[in-house]
Amino acid sequence: MEIPKSIKLFLTQTGELAKFTGRFFSEAFHPHYEFREFIRQCYIIGYKSLPLLGITGFIMGLVLTMQLRPTLVDYGAESMLPSMISLSVVREIGPVITALIFAGKIGSSIGAELGSMRVTEQIDAMEVSGTNPYRYLVVTRVAATTVMLPLLIILSDAVGLYGGYLGVNIHAITSYKLYMTQAFNVLDFYDVLPAIIKTFFFGFAIGIIGCYKGYYSKKGTEGVGLSANSAVVISSLVIFILDLIAVQITGILGYN
């Protein structure tokens, strides 16, 4: 029986992505670090994503509060609102939604940028100029997404909690101190740590998939578009898969 073409393609690309990831670890710890380019990428990837992720984090917290409130009022558990918001935002919604938006913004831009560099021979020109393009383009971008996404998620969680505070105060007056005390009382080390650890993996996945798709982009404008598009689609899917794995691991360890 012949293996269908789509399965063959999937297996080939998975293998190539694994090789590409392996190369990251061998190149990343090799001397001749591209530190300047890493800092530049942190600025582009991290700092320039702040407004978008801040706004979405705020809306996320506000909407979550407005949706939760009627149900909790029905059960007479309105006072639980700050605790529920903080648990949902810190453990799950904050990391996943922020990572998905980050994948849309940064994954697509990395895929398109490297794809167009490949198509216009800029990557070849870099190699001829005595630069290892993998180290200069891929390692710096993947390192930047891995470091920046957790920081952005922490910020987005904080803004989301503040959005929740404003949401609570639409219908009832609750002091900022009381809201924050209730929100943080329910959180412990095992809620925060696994949530932060998984965001490093999200950041790494978004960076490496975007770079892989761009670096091996097919020739032509269609190839560049396809690289940007598939970088977002695949990294979004991988975020959910990684989240599922993280939940299973924390469950096995008894942290859920």
Binding site: T120, E121, Q122, D124, A125, E127, V128, S129, G130, T131
Partner: protein
């Protein structure tokens, strides 16, 4: 290495070069020799493997078999660091120019210098940039980005970037393709001026017979992956072989 070159004036010699993509044999036992100060044009139809040939010379593609000697060194036995050091002496003008579009012209020109020579002073960098920009006739473009330049100007800047490291050899990949006849002629003249001024050796891949006539000391016809014929422009032009004649009609 200098001693080797004194005894042997060949800057590039290629023997039995083979490169295939699947079943398609692009280069099949190809041979070539380039002498110091000489400009060699490789003629061939589209898809005949001309670009593959110069990409093998610069190390962007790995041949399946054969030998490539550049400035007395076997390219295929060099490690990455040795290859980078040798590449300082080889300039490559890409068909698409390959200018970094996120950088200004100055940054484009600085890039190869920063990567190859880690301890070059800012003063030396500035004077080199000024010199090459003047040589290509665009001294006012240093702070512009590639998107602000016309096709011909981009080609000149790409040539300036190729020249910035004072290479011994320049590989031109279709330098006049996509340009109007006047700009194409300007680029051809510029190639001649560069050859006179810097005494470089060059391999030119081109279909533009006006450019070929103006630049070639020797022409090689690449057919079916092999060196089909070689000679001067006039020798090949007077040939009765139909495979050669079609280029000159």
């Amino acid at each position: 290495m200098t001693e080797t070159l004194l005894h042997n004036d060949k800057v590039i010699s290629i023997h039995n070069l083979c490169k295939s993509f699947g079943d398609n044999k692009v280069l099949d036992g190809f041979n070539l020799e380039l002498n110091r100060g000489e400009t060699l044009v490789v003629l061939g139809r589209s898809g005949s493997g001309k670009s593959v040939l110069i990409k093998c010379i610069i190390g962007l593609m790995e041949p399946d078999a054969g030998e490539i000697n550049v400035l007395g060194q076997n390219m295929l036995s060099l490690d990455h660091e040795q290859l980078d050091r040798l590449r300082v002496q080889i300039g490559f003008l890409f068909q698409s120019n390959a200018l970094y579009d996120s950088m200004t012209v100055r940054e484009n020109l600085e890039f190869p210098m920063r990567r190859h020579w880690y301890k070059i002073s800012q003063e030396e960098t500035n004077s080199r940039i000024k010199e090459v920009l003047e040589n290509v006739g665009l001294p006012h473009t240093a702070d512009m980005v590639p998107a602000e330049l016309s096709g011909g100007m981009q080609k000149r800047i790409a040539l300036a970037r190729t020249l910035i490291l004072n290479p011994d050899i320049i590989l031109y990949d279709e330098p006049t393709t996509g340009l109007d006849p006047i700009t194409g002629r300007e680029i051809t003249n510029l190639m001649g001026e560069i050859q006179d001024k810097y005494k470089t050796s060059a391999i030119v891949i081109s279909h533009d017979m006006r450019c070929v006539k103006a630049t070639a000391d020797k022409i090689i016809v690449l057919l079916n992956g092999k060196c089909y014929a070689q000679g001067t422009f006039d020798e090949l032009k007077s040939s009765n072989d139909k495979n050669i004649k079609q280029f000159f009609e």
